[in-house]
Every structure is written in C-alpha cells, then in structure tokens.
Amino acid sequence: MSIAVEQPEAVVEEHPVAPFLRMDRIPHIWCPTCGIGTVVKCIATALEETKVDVDKVSIVSGIGCTGRAAGYMKLDAFHTTHGRAIPFATGLKLGRPELLVTVFSGDGDLVGIGGNHFIHAARRNTDLLVVLVNNFIYGMTGGQNAPTTPLLAKSSTMPYGNFERPFNLPHLAASCGATYVARWTSLHIRRLTKAFKEAIRRKGFRFIEAIAPCSTLYARLNRLGTGANLMRFYHDHAEIRHGVDPRDVDIGFQDRIICGKFVDEERPTFTEMMDEHYSKTFGDKYVPLPPEGGMIRENSQSGDAAGAASSRREDS
C-alpha cells in the first residue's frame, strides 16, 4: 500500500531540464522569490551541457531548505543527516570511485554543524563538488543566526542584530585546501552555470558558493523586502573580481558582494595520493579499488577487485 500523492497536471511541452528533475514532485516547496530553484536549474543545465554520464552522478544533501534539493533532482539522491552530507559523500566516492559526487546543501548545514567535515574534506582534497547555497540564515527552521549571517543582520535568535563575526567562505575553503573556489549569486545565472561546468570537469575538492535570496526569513526579518529586492541588491552591489585574494571577500550587511573565481588549481586528490603512495610502498602487491567499487560479487563475474585479486594470485 502506498501513499497517494496528488499528481500535477500534465503539460504538453515540458521544461528543458525536466529530465533532470523529479517532475512528480514539482512544484517544489521553496518560497516565491527563493533563489534555490535557480541554482538547481543552473546545475541541471551544467550537467546537461557537459554531457556527463548522468547515471554516475550522485547528489548528497543535508538538512535545510537547500537540503531539499536532493529530493527534486533525478539523480541517485541522498537526503542525509544535518551536517553530514560531506562525509556521506566521501563514503560514496570512496566506495565507487567512478561516481561524480556532488554535495548540495546550505550554509548552516555545511559550515555550521558540518564545519569540521568541510574543512577536513577540503584538506584531504576529496574529489567532491560542493555547492553551498548561502542565504545567510537557517531558513527551514525559522530564521536563526547562521555562521554566515553578516554583522548586524537580524535573525530570530539574534533579534537585536548579529554580533558574531561570520565566515568568509571562499577564504575558509581556500585556506583548507580546496582546488576550485568560486562565488556567484543566483542572479549570475550564466556565470554560475559556467562555474558548475568548469567544476564538473575538474577533480578534487571544488567549492562553489551560490548566494541566494531568502525572502521569508532573511529578507523579512531584516526588512529588506522580498527575494526580488535582494536580487536587485545583488545586481547593484555584486562586483566581479576573478583571482582576488579570498581573504578580501568577506561580506558585510547589505554591503558589496565580491564574486568570481578565486582559486583554480590542480592538486592530487585523496584517492590519487593514496594510490600513488601505496603503489610505491607495495608495488605489484597493491590492489587499488577499481572504479566500479568494492562490492563483492559472485566470483564468476570479472572486472572487480575480487576477480582481479584472485587472478593476480593465480598468476604469481
């Protein structure tokens, strides 16, 4: 017995990124003028245009408004516990290295409760594409102060204005070792899509901060209007400065937002370093995990670690 869900009306012609969305769950829960949907559209477009094997793309999200994105994307989607999207994604990636694992979650989830995992995954240069949608607040739970809430901004737990210094996320990511760091707003749709496309083609810990309006909480609690007003604010106050030092891109309340690509380098990923080191140490005896993963199959199947390992033993 299943739960009956009201199906939306069928449309004759469908939206171009419909193949990447779970259309049986659209319209989604995000508020009018929320920017998360735009970021989802951009990443769906990027996946389509880079022509990656979509079967091998997994999306992992945490808890929060942005965390609901996994539920709307037609990929192997994992809606995990609060803050633990990154280690979950690490397990996915290390369990089956051929997967393109993306983490799509919010500021509170990824750098609040998930802060420790964020910095370590960046340090290890784990091969993950991390999209952090930053709306400067904990939206889903009613507008509490977040690690990214600008100084003096109001929230439900800082009703007289925030007096805690917020994170400068590109600086955090870059200093921990991310190899691709960029920030755009949900207004910069083409540049954001281009950043996704670039990051999809890279490897290592790629971090993209997508600033998006939160109408119902951040804008309302700070009397900034709706998300449309925030979008106009991004339009007037976003400055594009590629390659600038990430230390200088912190965001003040209703202050300029510096966007651009700040870090784009290549460094060996966690898996590459592991493979290289063990190959050196063990030579032929090292059995790396095959791209399709460590799943033990019936011995009659070829091409897996079990088959490879036993055939290697037979040869020696």
Partner: protein
Amino acid sequence: MKYWRKPLDFDQVKIPRGEVRIIADRCKGCGFCVEYCPKDVLEMSEEFNRKGYHPPKVVKHGECVNCNLCEMICPDFAIFSVPLDDEEPEAEPGESLEQSAAASGPPVAAQQKEDGN
C-alpha cells in the same frame, strides 16, 4: 532595433527569434522573468493560477530573442523559451508575431498566456 550607427557586421549577424512558453500552474509570481527579460517581453498578468499566484504573460510578441534568461532565472521551472524556425520571414520592426506567423503557420500548442486575445 534602433542603432546609433549601423554595425559593420549587421548583414552577417542574425538576431535569433524565440517564443516564450509559460507553465502557469508552477509559477509563484516572483517576477524575476518580468524584471530581467532584456527585451521586456513579459509583464505580470492579472490572472490567477491554481495556487493563487499571478503568472507572467507575453506582452511584446515577436520581441523574444530566445536568450533563455527567463528560463535560467526562474526558480520554479515555470517558464522557458524555444527558438523559432529560420524558414519564416524575419519580423521587421513594427510587424507583430501574428503577421509573421500567419505567413509560416501557427506555433506549437502550449499553455501560453496572450495579452487579451
């Protein structure tokens, strides 16, 4: 469109033409498509969709250049544009979509909000 001076490659560059498709029942009335369309093709309508929001409507027929900006910026997957065929004669400034469409045939059926007609 009006040019300050005619560009040197005016004869080689073809301005694309497109048509806006609106999936009205998904729209949440945010207004981004209306605000950011570079050709001001859209306006918020007075109609209500199933959820009580005002979806947009096309007011400047024939002006859409298929830039896809509405499609990219809509957070609700409620609007997109499709390119129009090249076989039709170019709509000269002042000629409406109906006049050029009458020459080439009606557009593909979809939920399309039209101004008044």
